[in-house]
Symmetry: C2
Subunit: 288 residues, 2 copies
């Protein structure tokens, strides 16, 4: 097929595939090329726009490092990361949400009832929950990896003034799947906007803010690992999370309670004299 035209180029692309190509690879690549071609034709993409897109990818390549992945961030702000998460979520389980770039390896162990707030200023938040299966049965000893921003809006990996393990903890739930810990109320923050993703957000008249959240990875043998986030229902950015991570079942009330209702058996139990915030977050895992 010598004559490639703007009408037949997707067919020519598909015809180039070898006979022994993996059918799934072929399906994905041909669909990708078809959507790429349809997009270009539909908007009559100009050479200048094509060059602009390429130069944004080149820029993303230059600033991507083990600490910052601008391609993941593009996927996040375009909604692709959340879409892939949602497509593979079990509707009866707790919704998954974006992993983001701020999780650190080898988080420190956090005992049940332990504290992540330490000496940081801000409201005490007490979190309790239970990990269960789709039928409501407790899942014992689930592994709960928790991380969040410090009160200054920065994750430990962004902030030279924090220890790398600050506001990161790895907890093992008890025999009945329960977990509880204290922390400081997390705050809203901006995704990095000094690169090409920031340029895209500016061009779209969008802000780079995410609503505040507690971030979790929850694992248990025989169940699908869950990456998720819990959002407070009074966050100003709840309706316009720049990475599309908010799901209805992940929005919770942070309830203010008097000190007298602070649970026993917590690392901070003896120190609480003022009202504190409380959120209950039960987690439903889907089987593998």
């Amino acid at each position: 097929m010598r004559t490639v035209t703007k009408e037949n180029i997707t067919d020519v692309f598909a015809a180039y595939f070898g006979e022994d190509t993996d059918p799934r690879t072929r399906e994905v690549l041909v669909a990708m090329a078809r959507h790429l071609h349809d997009f270009a034709r539909e908007v009559n993409l100009t050479h200048a726009e094509w060059r602009k897109g390429l130069s944004m990818l080149e820029h993303a390549g230059r600033i991507t490092s083990p600490e910052r992945n601008e391609f993941v961030l593009f996927s996040d702000v375009l909604g692709l990361s959340s879409l892939v998460d949602m497509m593979h979520s079990n509707p009866r389980a707790t919704s998954s949400s974006v992993l983001g770039p701020f999780h650190v390896s080898n988080p420190p162990k956090l005992e049940i009832g332990g504290d992540m707030k330490r000496d940081f200023e801000g409201p005490v938040l007490c979190v309790e929950g239970q990990v269960r299966d789709l039928d409501g049965n407790p899942i014992p000893h689930a592994e709960i990896d928790i991380w969040q921003t410090a009160p200054n809006g920065l994750y430990s990996s962004q902030d030279p003034d924090q220890d790398i393990h600050s506001f990161h903890g790895l907890m093992t739930a008890d025999d009945s799947g329960h977990f509880r810990f204290t922390t400081v109320r997390p705050v809203e923050y901006t995704v990095p906007s000094d690169g090409p993703v920031g340029e895209l957000l500016d061009a779209a008249g969008r802000h780079p803010w995410r609503p505040s959240h507690l971030h979790y990875i929850i694992k248990a043998p025989g169940f699908i690992s869950l990456v998720t986030e819990v959002f407070p229902d009074d966050d100003p950015y709840l309706d316009q999370d720049t990475v599309f991570g908010v799901r209805d079942d992940l929005v919770m009330s942070y309830v203010e309670k008097p000190a007298s209702e602070f649970p026993d058996g917590m690392a901070l139990s003896a120190q609480i004299t003022d009202p504190f915030l409380y959120v209950k977050f039960d987690v439903i895992l889907a089987p593998e």
Copy 2:
């Protein structure tokens, strides 16, 4: 709109745009996101496939440099570069074709009748042509920038044994738009396949070959600059150019002629004793 779902995410994306956004920017970005989302839904893109795509982009970023642009190469082998070229070509003018990565800045001046073959082994190719407008009128003094592979299949920028200006020349057509030069017959070659583009070609069961060609940029005041290529009609890769650059009107016969028919007034006129190859390439430019 707090509840982002896999069905409404494109609408949510569009709703995030600021009111004062440039309408064209909005059109392009919303169409891009819609095709990205439709693609992911259509193939039910898995997390593993999503991560694979991101890691290929990261790999492209790591190896892209001023000398090698893996993102442009992705665009080329996916057919996007050729599609954008074709969408903006005037159908009455000579077809445009991909620029590719091998053009060098500041090519050396090549006089009318000049030679680029020098001491390289291989068949002498004599090229003649005329630059005209859509009505057939000659365009005087058009600037013709010519480049091609050496007989070893390498462009000068890939080959430490060649001078950087080897097989590059900048000619100014005469008063009647005519140009002519000698060179060696260019050969087919492979695009770089040691990076993620090579991985994609392998996965698709595709080869990395391009048919041999003479590459041109032709410019004249008042006309749209033309990037194009001329292919011989007996090239084995004509029907499967890995970057989709072949157009019907760019495929020419290289005619073998006896030495007695070699044109006068060429730098090589006195030296030609064997049969040589001849191709006539007239160029039609569209007005700006």
